[in-house]
Structures are given as structure tokens and as C-alpha cells.
Subunit: 138 residues, 5 copies
């Protein structure tokens, strides 16, 4: 998924990309904060694939909470891209979902930093990254 | 819902409004904090429509926790306006609920900044934004 | 409940009281912090009546977590006085419980600021504000 | 339980002890932080007996989270000594458990401040304060 | 498990190691932060074996949340190595799992500090420390 994100960003904008890998999702929050504060990144994508067991769900929850805190401490967006192992039935579907979600969030990351006004047009249209959009309510 | 909030505020007071859109509810806390610290907003409305799956509920919980932390870090109110997809049976009901809740909270936002004393009169009257009020206990 | 707290405090001590109302329990943490930091309150009572739905329980949990954080950021006590709608069977019982709990916590607030030693005598006696005390274990 | 802690500490070391009582477990985090920052305590024991209802469990969880945050804000240990009302079947058993756990944690508090090396010997031996130790795994 | 970590690190790199023991997992976050801030450790391994009861699971969750916060406050990684008592059926299996997980995470700790690029090669390969790896998705 990290490679896909790099690919999607490189296709759309010209910028420096720092890529880091950590052992598990709970190691993401501090790594994101280091990328923002020490590597001066304008935005970070936090990519992970939590397992399907209750303990994995809890780890993902703890990681998410930490990622939000890291954003508040730095006034910088961190786009969380988590794909849960039980979101798809087959390995192939999961790979496809992971790729789509990563690419859509890579575009969101670009928009947040460079074109925030583009996002307003999407508001209320029920976008769901990597899956079928919910559509607007009527 | 963002458009409705802008409409309601504009009808009631004359003020500058900054509108931003983020990819998901978990991106709201830091965006609200940026609006307060970098855009000098006196109050923020954080509007979102979480889905009905357990994972969506958890995202909403994480977002809410972050929104409260953002308020504590800035000593500024952020009015959370979340409408859960499963709060109504039909799409039409949901749209109506979303509009009512947004308008009522837009008025709350105005009162918190400009007329805090007005809110005291509502205390203990069991107000429920967008739904039937609970009424006072007797 | 706000009125009852003002009444109980006024009957027992002579002091300035600042009363504020917010739209919902999740708006309490930051308002308490503002009262401490900007209004120089020595203690705050955070009063609310969460509903009985799961979403209301979650809001109360988020509010409580925020209230604890607000205390840690200010080194000042905030007495949380929450009465859950499902703590009593009838509206009358609920009103009675709310009044008793508010009055007992108003006294606790006074003791925490003015007479901390009084509280030591109550330690381990199983006090439950507004309900039947549990009594000491033996 | 506060009295037992004072007794156990006094029997083992000579030091000043500050004792404070708060209305409920959720008032513990800020009181512990005040004891560390304003009373210059080297360590704090946070003692409480949460009830057995779900709401009590949640209060204990919120208190625990706050106690951990208080430690992180002060770089000082706070030993949490919670005895849940439903940990024992009879009132007598509960009193006995509370006393044992308090005494064992009082010794832990002393070791953490004065003899940190003593604790290393206990690592991996499956100590459970107040109950039967789990023993080492083999 | 602490001894195993010391052994694995010593076999792979030459560095100073500070070992501390705390009474329970909830005492880990502040101890890790002290090791980083006062003992100037470059990385910390937080090792614990939570029990199998619901209360133990909750303690582990609170500890994990605190460990993430400690990392965010120090911009330093803390590798959490928790082995839950119910992760294996026999005591022997549990001991084996604990040893494997500790050794693999000790290597992760070394890589994070000295060889961050090594970790990128592992990204997306579904590593699960101490158990069967999940493998990459295809």
C-alpha cells in the first residue's frame, strides 16, 4: 500500500516523499509526528492493515486515537488509510479495496495541502474511499 | 449540511464564515483546531454524517474525543453536529433531521459566542437538536 | 439542576458563582476550563442529564474523559454531576435523585475548596451521592 | 484503605505522608497531580473501590485513563489501588482483599521510589496484588 | 521476557541497556517516559503479560493508550510487547510465544533506531511477531 501511495502522489504532483515503515499500527502515531516535526512533511498518510481479531480492532482503535492526537499536537493533517482484513471476502477483493482506498486517499492528501477548495464540492456526496459511495441524502 | 449551517448563520448574524471540507469525520478535529488557531475563528461547527456500521460508530467516537481535546487545547467551543445514518428510517427523514439539527446547532453556536445568557433559559428543558425535545423533568 | 446547585452553595457559603449553560454534555469540558482559566473559578460543577440511548452513554463517556483532562490541564477540581435518564423509573424519582445528587455534590465542592479535611472522615464509608450509601465494608 | 496504606508505609520507612480524600474515583487524577506538583510528593497511591454496575466500571476506566495521563504529565508514578466491589463474594473477603492489595501496593510504592532494583527480581513471577499470584510461565 | 530482550539486543548490537520493572502494565507508560527523558534512552521496549479477565484486557488497553501518548510527548518509539495469557493453550506454548515475540520485537527496536530502511522491505508482508505471519495479500 505504501508503494501505491507513492505511485499515485507522483503521478499527480511533483514533491518530495519520505517513506517509513513501522512494526505495527500502534507505532504509526509517533512516526507520523516525527515525519511532521523532524522531516517537515506537510501531510502524512498513515497506512495499515489491522487484522480481524478483537485485539486487532482494539489496536486499530488505539492507533486511530493516537493519530488524531498527533494531528492536534502539530496542526497538520494525517490521513489514516486502514484496510481491515475482514472488509473483503477474498484476498483478491481485499487487495483491490486496499489499492482503491489508498489511491483515493492519496488524492485527498494532495487536495488538503494544495487544493482545499476542491474538497468542498465533494461535501455531502457520501464518498466512501475504496468502496461504493453512499451518495447524497435526499 | 455545511450549506445549511452557512444559511442559518447568515440569516441571524452578520459575520465572516470560513468553510472547509475534510475527507472523513476523523479529519475534523485538527481542521477545527486550524480554523481556531490559524483562521482565528471564534467558534467552529464540526459537521459530519457517520455511517451505521460498528467501524463507523468507532470512527465517530474517536472524532468526538479529538474534538473535545481540540476545544481544551484552544479554550474555544466546537459544536459537534453529527447525524448518524441510522437515526432515521428513510432518506427523507434523515435529510429533514440533518437540516433541523444543523439549524438548531447554528443558533446554539451564535448564542455561545454572542448571547451566552440566552442558553441559561434553555437549561433543564431537555432540548434534543433535530428531534423531539425531552422536556423538563418534574 | 443548575439552580439547585446555586441554592445549595448559597445556603452554605458566601461566594461568587458564575453560571453558564451549554447545548450538550460534550460542550461541558471546554466551558469548565474557560470558567477556571478565564473566570478564575476555584472549582466547577459540571451538571448534565445524559439520555438513555447507547449514543447518549457514549457522549457522557466522552464528556467525562474530557472533564478529567480539563482538570489535569488546570490542577483544579471539576465535580461531575451527571444523572442518567434511566437511573430512575418515574419522572418524579428522577427529579428527586437529581436534586439530592446535586445538593450532596455542591457540599462536596465546598469541602474540596474550603474544608478538605472533612472529606477524610467520609473515606471508606461508601457514600453514593443521591442514592442509598453503600456503607463501609467489614 | 487509606488508613491501611498509611500504616504499611509507616511500618517500613520513615517519610512524610499527605492524605487526601475526594468524592469519587473520577476526582482522583487531578488530586494525585496536585499532590505531586503542589505538595511535592515523590509517589502517590490512588485508592478507590468502584461499584459493580456498568456505569461504575466506566467511571473506573475513565479514572484509570486520567491517572495514567497525570503520571505522563509529571514523570511520577501513581500506584492505582482499585478494588472492585464484585471481586469478592462476601463483604469479609472483600475487606481482606482490599487490605492485602493495599499493603502489597504500599510496598511496591516504597520500592519504586527507594529500591527500584528489588522489583526486577519480581519480574515475570506473575504477582497479583491481593490475590493468588499467577506464578511464572514455564 | 525482560531477560530475553536484553539477550537478543546484546547479541545483535553493542549498546547500553537500562532495565526497570514496574508492578503492573499500567505503570509502564510513565516508566517508559522517564527512561526516555531522564535516562536518555533512544528507544524503549514495554514488556508485559496481561491476564485473561475482562478487567485485565481493559488495563492493557489503558496501558497501550498511555504508551502511545508517551511516544507522542517524546517523539520517541516505544515498542509494546504484550503477550496475553489467553493467546496460547498451554503454559509451554505461551512461554514459546513470549520468547519469539520478544526476540522479533527486539530486532524491530534495533532496526527502528539504527536501520529504518530494513523495515521498508518488510512492509505489506503481513508480519505477526511471535506467531505465523499473515503473508502478503495478492
Amino acid at each position: 500500500m505504501g508503494g501505491i501511495a507513492v505511485d499515485e502522489i507522483s503521478k499527480n504532483v511533483s514533491c518530495d516523499i519520505v517513506r517509513r515503515t513501522v512494526p505495527g499500527v500502534k507505532d504509526l502515531p509517533v512516526e507520523c509526528k516525527i515525519l511532521i516535526e523532524e522531516y517537515k512533511c506537510d501531510i502524512v498518510m498513515a497506512i495499515g492493515m489491522p487484522g480481524k481479531e478483537p485485539i486487532d480492532k482494539q489496536c486499530a482503535h488505539e492507533a486511530s486515537t493516537g493519530i488524531i492526537t498527533a494531528q492536534l499536537m502539530t496542526n497538520t493533517h494525517i490521513i489514516e488509510v486502514f484496510v481491515h482484513e475482514d472488509e473483503a471476502k477474498t484476498s483478491k477483493e481485499l487487495a483491490s479495496l486496499a489499492e482503491k482506498r489508498t489511491r483515493e486517499h492519496a488524492k485527498n492528501a494532495i487536495d488538503l495541502v494544495l487544493y482545499p477548495k476542491r474538497l468542498i464540492r465533494m461535501a455531502g456526496t457520501g464518498q466512501r474511499q475504496g468502496g461504493k459511495d453512499r451518495g447524497p441524502i435526499k
